[in-house]
Each structure stands twice: as C-alpha cells, then as structure tokens.
Amino acid sequence: MAMALPSNAGGGDRWQVLRLLVARKTVLISLIVLVVLIAAALLAPYVSPFDPYKLSIMNRLKGPSSVHWFGTDDFGRDVFSRVIHGGRLSLMVGFSVVILASVLGIALGLIAGFFRRADKFVSRLIDAMMAFPDILLAIALVAALGPSLINVIIALGIVYTPRLARVVRASTLVIRELPFVEAARALGVPTYCIVTVHVLRNLISPILVQGTFIFAYAILAEAGLSFLGVGVSPDIPTWGTMINSGQQYMGQADWIMIFPGIAIVLSVLSLQLLGDGLRDVLDPRLRKEL
C-alpha cells in the first residue's frame, strides 16, 4: 500500500516536490485556477462589482451583458458578485470541513493504529459510517443538528472523518513497525514523543493527499445539500443555494444556475487533479528510495 508508507521527502525537499508538481501541465493549470478562485474569494468585497445582496427588481432576470457579466437573478442581484461571494463561503466551508475531519480523523486513526482493542471498535465504526452514501448521512446529521452554516460544516466534517481515519490508521500500523520507531523505543523516548515526532511527521503526505480530495468532496456536498434545500438557508449566497433558486427559471434564465455550476466544476476538478498530482509525486519517490 504505497500511500501508507512514509515519504522520504525531508525538509529540504519541499521545493523539489513543488517543482515536480508544476512540471505536470494538469497540476499547473489546476494550481493556477485554485489560486485565482481563492484570491477572488478572499478579496471578494473588493473584487465584486456589485453588492451581492442588493435587490433591484427592475433589473431582474437580465441576461449576461457588459454591465452584469453573469446576468442578474430573480431578485435583480448581480450573479457575478454572488458567485464570488458564494465562492468565499463554499471554499470556507470546504476548508473548515477539511480541518475538522483532519482533527477527528487523525485522533481516531492514531487511537485505532496504536491500541488493538480500541481498533476493533473504531474500525467497525468507520466501516459503518462509510457504508452510508455521504449525502444521505450529511442530510441526516443536518436534520438532527438544524440547518445553519456551522451545522453544515460540522455534519460534513463528521461525514468525511472516516476517510481520513482509515488512511491514518493504515499508515500508523505500518510506521509503528518500522525500525526507526523501534530505535526510539530502545532509546527510551516516551510514547507521546514517538507519536508526534515519529509517527505524525510521516503521516503528512497521506493526510495532505486525502485532505485535498476531502476539500473537493465537501464543496460538492455543500452545494448538493443547499441545492436540496437542507443546507444553509437560501438567502445566503453559496453556489448550492444559487443553483437551488435558479431551478425554477430553467429555460428562462439559465445563467443563474450555469455560472455557479461552472464554478463548482472548476474548483472540484482542480482540487482533484491537484490531489492526484500530489499522490503521484509523493509516492513513486518513496518507492524509489525505500
């Protein structure tokens, strides 16, 4: 299981990893797209030409023009500005989900990797959670917690924790048998040091790769939830809510749905390609060295 082994990339290697990454055209393009999207999201208040909340009933359902690049929606709001602000929220949700899933996933994975008896319980829990389709589980959790942005983040974080926990557990099981961990025990290094210095540092690669994929899934899931009406409330502009509200005008004002849709596709595709690239770059290197 190539992903489970520690990468041999040491400190000075970060630049080489980057160089290998951008050597691949697909990854390079993905990185550029992501940088643009993230920059737009961060600078949303300065970059969006209109106030995304500003109603203008006179201008409703106008098609793309030189003034409104992406047209206006049913309330006359500028779609371009809403896409940018929506991106801010969607990317923020995605990122928060990754953080939450990582914290929970690393904790669970380490426990399962180190303690055999706990492993039995944790593994079955992971299997059970992964048996559900992600969206269904997310809907159930949001229904239980109540629809709000925070709860969507929490729900999705829980949904994607098993994925990360599995990877962490597998890697931990491999790493703890490696001679350098044994050497640390022979030196008398205390267990908590072994976990942080030896095990965790070698988990960075698989976590990074998984995290990139989870980012993509989370954006998609949030959009899906909002589209179904069980995510954040419809007046908050996320890409999902925009597609939801644009449904009724399909055939009339397609631009309301299409542009947020394109944004989702671009960001998810870029993240996935970046994740693929990372995985390819980090794995064969270690195979070559180990």
């Binding site: 040491g10 000075g12 640390a184 040091c193 060295e289 180990l290």
Partner: protein
C-alpha cells in the same frame, strides 16, 4: 550523494576505557565470573491469535548464555532460529515470556518501562536496515539530538557533542542538517551507530548491521565496529547469518536453531572443532571464497520445521544425520566440552566414536 571517505580520526574526548583484550588467564576467569550480561532460560513466545488455546510461535525457547565484558559475542543462526528475537528481548523491545536477563548483576526481567529508562542508556541497538532505521523526516542532527535529549546528556554542549559523534563514526560533521535519504547505505548505518553511541552505552546489540550493505561497504562498517569496540571498551552481541564475518569479528559464538542453542564457545574453537551436528552442517554449507578449498559437504535433508510446532526433545533431530530415538525424549542439556565450550547434544560420544 555525499562522498565521504572513511578514516576514523583520533579520539576526540569521547570516553575511553581501557580494554582487556590481552588480559591474562586469571583476569579472564575474573571476567567470566562477572559477565556484563547473563541470560538464563530465556523464552519468547508469540501467540498467533487471541484466545487461550491459540497456537504459539516458540521463537526463543529456553536460551542461556553469558556475554563477558569487553568481548564481541556472535549470535548465528538461520531463519527461524530466534537470534533476532533474542537480541530484541535483551533490550526488552519484545516482552520475554519467561527467563532472566541479568545486566551487570541486576535482573531486568521484572522492570517496568519507566524503570528501564536508566538502563536504556547502558544498552543500545544497531539495526539491519539502513533505510528504515532512520526517520526520513528528521535531520541527522535531530536524530542524534533525540538520543541526547531523552537522557539529558551534553545539554550545554549539544551541537559540539553531535559533531563529535558524527566524526567518531567517520562522517562529516557539516552534514548534520541533511536528511537520511541524502546519504548512502553505509553512511546511514554509521548514523545509526552514532545514535547508539550518543548515550554512551556499555553494551550494543548489532542486529545484522552489515547484511544489507554491499561487500566493499560491509568492510568499512565492520572495521568501524571493531575500532569502536576496542577504543570504547564496548561489549557487543553481533547477530548475523554470515559465518565468515562472525569468524573475523567475534571472540565467542552462540549457534542457534529453532529457538534453542546448539553450541556455544570461543569462535576459534567452535569453527576449528565443531561438535554439534548442526554446527558442522552449518559450517560445511557456508560458501568459502577459495575454489581450491576442500569441501566436505554435509547436506541436511528437508526444511526447517515451523516454530509453532517444533519437534519434541532435540529440535534438530528431524534433520540430524545422527538422530536416534533418545533424541526425542528431552531437550538436551548443555554439556561442557572444554573451557567455556558447551554443546547441547545427547549423542556426542556415539557420534565421535563413529
């Protein structure tokens, strides 16, 4: 790759203890009476599953030997012999199922992990795999520094001490910030040795330290180990399967088969006059780099039995050319054949007579 030539420099303030390599007979006797390590009836069994009736791998099944101070003792055997497990059990890296481990007169068998910490300073290990025995994410300085910090050594002169250790093993101290993958196999092995030396141990278990290296590099590391043992007065247990290397390096040899000791004694003696049928077969099977050397090949039939279900009595009897019914009855006790030379075989007299 860093091209560092080896040449062990002069001692640089590292603790030097006089060796007793050329001691007289009476001092030797004194050394033997107070060995640094005494193992008594060590057993290490691994359960293959949970449940009380799960079959057990009898990796080490009643092993007793001494390691005298300032000597290098070789532990040889083939796969399944238990030699690697024995080495690890001495350092309590695997839990012993039974038996005593006395280090410098103190029984370590019942100590907890916390109580073992000060002892871990005195006994260290060097591993076989130069690639997996160093954390790829730690620089050389961090690797050696960890050893120092765990035992709070040289805290006021940490950097200097790390440089000292690197030079002691023939590496360039300027390479301390580099990562393991930037070094060759032989150099990584030296880093592992430096890590073991950092805590200033009395005893080192070398677990097949050169098996994974190229021939020309093996010689470099073997010379280094020899020098260190001599200069620092170390005691070593050299676990290996290469009989020629053991002949070259070790003062005494312990021959293991399927978790038991077949024969042990001074290397010259055991190699020149092997008494146990297994030792004889093993020595005759070892390839000799001389096409004109006379070869008396004793070919053993069959394969090594599984350590889960070892033969009763003498474990070697299923492949021994001299086996008889009496061999199945009980595990042969170690019989003394001369000064410090023990053989575990009940049919020695009959074999010699034939």
């Amino acid at each position: 790759m860093i091209d560092t030539l080896l040449s062990p420099p002069a001692s640089t303030g590292v603790i030097d203890r006089t060796t007793a390599a050329d001691a007289s007979v009476s001092s030797r006797a004194a050394l033997r009476a107070a060995p640094l390590l005494r193992v008594t009836d060590l057993k290490v069994h691994f359960p293959t599953g949970s449940g009380r009736h799960a079959p057990v791998v009898r990796a080490v099944d009643g092993v007793s030997f001494d390691v005298p101070r300032n000597t290098i003792v070789g532990l040889v055997g083939e796969s399944g012999s238990g030699k690697t497990t024995t080495g690890r059990a001495l350092l309590k890296l695997v839990a012993a199922t039974a038996g005593r481990i006395e280090f410098d007169g103190h029984d370590l068998s019942s100590l907890s992990e916390k109580q073992m910490l000060p002892w871990r300073r005195r006994m260290q290990i060097v591993f076989q795999d130069p690639y997996a025995s160093l954390n790829p994410r730690m620089s050389v300085a961090e690797i050696i520094g960890e050893a120092l910090d765990t035992h709070k050594l040289a805290q006021d002169r940490r950097e200097a001490r790390i440089s000292e250790l690197l030079e002691r093993v023939g590496l360039n101290a300027d390479h301390r910030t580099r990562y393991p993958h930037e070094f060759s196999g032989g150099q990584r092995q030296r880093i592992g040795i430096a890590r073991a030396l950092a805590v200033e141990p009395d005893f080192i278990v070398a677990d097949e330290p050169v098996s994974a290296l190229d021939v020309s590099v093996q010689a470099q590391v073997l010379n280094l180990l020899q020098d260190l043992q001599r200069d620092l007065g170390l005691t070593m247990l050299f676990v290996a399967h290469d009989l020629a290397v053991v002949d070259y390096l070790c003062d005494e040899v312990v021959v293991m088969y399927l978790g038991h000791i077949m024969e042990r004694g001074p290397t010259r003696e055991v190699y020149a006059r092997p008494r146990h049928p297994y030792t004889r077969a093993l020595l005759s099977a070892a390839p000799v780099p001389d096409p004109r050397a006379p070869r008396t090949r004793i070919l053993l039939k069959g394969d090594i039995p599984s350590p889960i279900d070892p033969p009763s009595g003498c474990v070697f009897r299923t492949r021994c050319p001299h086996a008889a019914d009496i061999c199945a009855q009980a595990t042969p006790p170690a019989r003394s054949m001369g000064p410090d030379h023990y053989v575990a075989c009940v049919r020695l007299d009959e074999i010699d007579a034939s």
